[in-house]
Amino acid sequence: MSCPTHRRPEYRKINKDLFVLTYGALVAQLCKDYEKDEDVNKYLDKMGYGIGTRLVEDFLARSCVGRCHSYSEITDIIAQVAFKMYLGITPSVTCNNSSRNEFSLILDKNPLVEFVEELPAGRSSLCYCNLLCGIIRGALEMTHTTELTHNQTISGGHSKGPFVQEQAYFY
């Protein structure tokens, strides 16, 4: 029952810039389409949710992680295995409260915001990386993690300048 620890040889590398620019074009178009920041955030989250429900199978197939039994385990796996596999970064995890059901993932180096200088005027509450939140929400829902708790909310990706990104998760 071995799991391949290497990538398949056909796993083509594509130019990271293309991926980052595509994401930027997506957000820019959504900004043109919708006036309000909340709408843009909502649609980014929805798109991310659709991606997350599918990406989780790819992640589980390739990484062979077993079932997690605590919230901190889940958050560690997301940070150390999933983010590493798909974005090549490892966000740091901090626990926000004593009952250990609220965590933050701090992205020091987020490839998605590589070319973003600052958010445009009037778009101060835009969550640029809200797609990532949606992806995580979709992935967790598919693995029935929500059965562990009554409500699960993922609060924004706050872009504090383009430099530090924080995503807080409440289980």
Partner: protein, 233 residues
């Protein structure tokens, strides 16, 4: 062939994908004169041999064709009932082809749902918490291997009892599923997987390529290929 079938069952118990790769079935075609010395009976919309086994025609074989024309369940291609046709001496001599009946797609759907229920019962019966459910079901003619993912999808493979390396095959089929089915943006989750079976980059083509036995390696081909590099499409 070492691998007989692959079934993919979704969370709700519905069959979303099925692939058969049986060896050519043993079929026997013979010419008969009246009266027929085999005893035929109607069972489950098929005409089966109930008694009178001989010459490669075994009990349980179904009537597949009469005079070269395939029968349709219990009716001939012309719409006459098979048993009535064979009871009439005017139709003889007649050439009948017998063979093992194939499962229809409805039957496969039903069997997949039943397996899903049995799987759930199996997990409940476990004396320990957090059972994995049915992983293997063994009979004298085949072994059924089942792998349930953390998202609730079940991959079921029916293989020769001596075939090794099915666990890695199940993992590989899961990977292929995540690639071909899920990354297709027009594929809806939990729906039957439709793909090009014979050409292009379909899920069927990838699975078929993967379970083709390598004659040179023999029964342990599965373990060799899964660990190594195998080009898909």
């Amino acid at each position: 062939m070492a691998i007989f079938s692959v079934y993919v069952v979704n969370k709700a118990g519905g069959l979303i994908y099925q692939l058969d790769s049986y060896a050519p079935r043993a079929e026997a075609e013979k010419t008969f004169s009246y009266p027929l010395d085999l005893l035929l009976k109607l069972h489950d919309e098929r005409v089966l041999v109930a008694f009178g086994q001989r010459d490669g025609i075994r009990v349980g074989h179904a009537v597949l064709a009469i005079n070269g024309v395939d029968v349709n369940g219990k009716y001939t291609a012309d719409g006459k009932e098979v048993l009535e046709y064979l009871g009439n001496p005017a139709n003889y001599p007649v050439s009948i082809r017998f063979g093992r009946p194939r499962l229809t797609s409805n039957e496969k759907l039903m069997l997949a749902s039943m397996f899903h229920s049995l799987f759930a019962i199996g997990s409940q019966l476990s004396p320990e918490q957090g059972s994995s459910g049915i992983e293997m079901l063994e009979t004298d003619t085949f072994k059924l291997h089942c792998f349930q993912t953390l998202t609730g999808i079940k991959f079921v493979v029916l293989a020769d009892p001596r075939q090794a390396g099915i666990d890695s095959l199940l993992r590989k089929i899961y990977e292929i599923y995540s690639d071909f089915a899920l990354k297709n943006p027009f594929y809806s989750l939990e729906m039957p997987i439709r793909g090009k079976a014979t050409d292009g980059r379909g899920y069927s083509r990838a699975c078929t390529l993967f379970i083709q036995p390598s004659l040179a390696l023999g029964p342990s081909w599965c373990g060799c290929f899964v660990g190594g590099r195998r080009q898909l499409c």
